[in-house]
Every structure is written in C-alpha cells, then in structure tokens.
Symmetry: C2
Subunit: 91 residues, 2 copies
C-alpha cells in the first residue's frame, strides 16, 4: 500500500483530514488509508466516520488494522505507541 | 455478543482494563470485546495491544468495528461520538 493514498492524522482539526480524504477519492482513488498513532487514534476514527456518514455514503471501512510502534524519545528511552490504519474503500 | 465478555474502556489507567481483559480469558472466555467511545478509543487500542504483546501472545484482533453513536447532552444538543469495538480472540 503506497503512501499516495494515505492520510496521516495528527493534531489538526478533524475536518482538515476529512477534506483530504474526500479529495483523494474524488481524484480517482478506490481506497484511502487513514493512519494515526497514540492520542490521534480517536481522531482517525472520527475522520472515517464523518467521511462515511456525512459525505460519502458509498464508502465503507474495508479493513481496520491496529499495531504497536516503538519511538525513540529525546530522553533516550524508547516508548511504545499504538497505531491504527483504517482502509476506507468504495463499495 | 453478550456483555459478559465485554470491557468498556473509560478514563481509568490502562492497566485496569488490561487486567480485566486477561481475567476474562483466564475464566474461560474464547473472545473478549473491548469497547470505547470518543477520546477513550485510543486507550482501547492500547489495551488490546498490551494484552496481546505483553501478556497473551495467543490472542489476536479477530475483528475491529467502528461506528457512531448519538448522545443526548445536558444542554439538549445531541452530539455524535465515534465508537470502536475490538474483538480479541484466542488463536
């Protein structure tokens, strides 16, 4: 899965990511992968749900993957953070 | 899916829910459903990942569902919140 159809959800307002997602679909992508980690995971779910319920009733969450990444912090102590990938696809 | 094998993740420390989850498996459940909504969604993913990676390598996320619930607030304006259900199952 290339990064061309991926959206990385961070701490910006949720509608920024919703718009980015809709734009990818309108540019011809059949699938868009919404990725996030840590506290942004709940916002990634918000993005998927808002796209699906409010803007594009013809997409659905085809696959949802969760995982763990190890991040090196400035203090030198690596920490584990949870990750999510939500694959939205056209029906 | 009954509530007997469900865990509702809220704002308590993550290890409380990890322990509850492990206890259900040790009491004979083959599947445990970790549920959360709103900002607690990222904590629910943490719970699933910690159970799986640190305590029970024989369980895996069998299914992950996302959705939206409408909640009536005290001010009278209903709001939408995202939900997640992570089904952890024994291999």
């Amino acid at each position: 899965m290339s990064d061309e159809n991926s959206i990385f959800v961070g701490s910006k307002p949720v509608m920024n990511y919703v718009l980015a997602c809709i734009t990818l679909f309108h540019n011809g992508k059949d699938e868009v992968v919404i990725k996030a980690r840590g506290r942004s995971i709940s916002r990634a779910v918000d993005v998927a749900e808002i796209v699906r319920n409010r803007f594009m009733s013809d997409v659905y969450p085809k696959e949802i993957r969760i995982g763990t990444e190890t991040i090196n912090t400035e203090s030198g102590n690596p920490i584990n953070v949870s990750t999510i990938e939500i694959v939205l696809a056209k029906k």
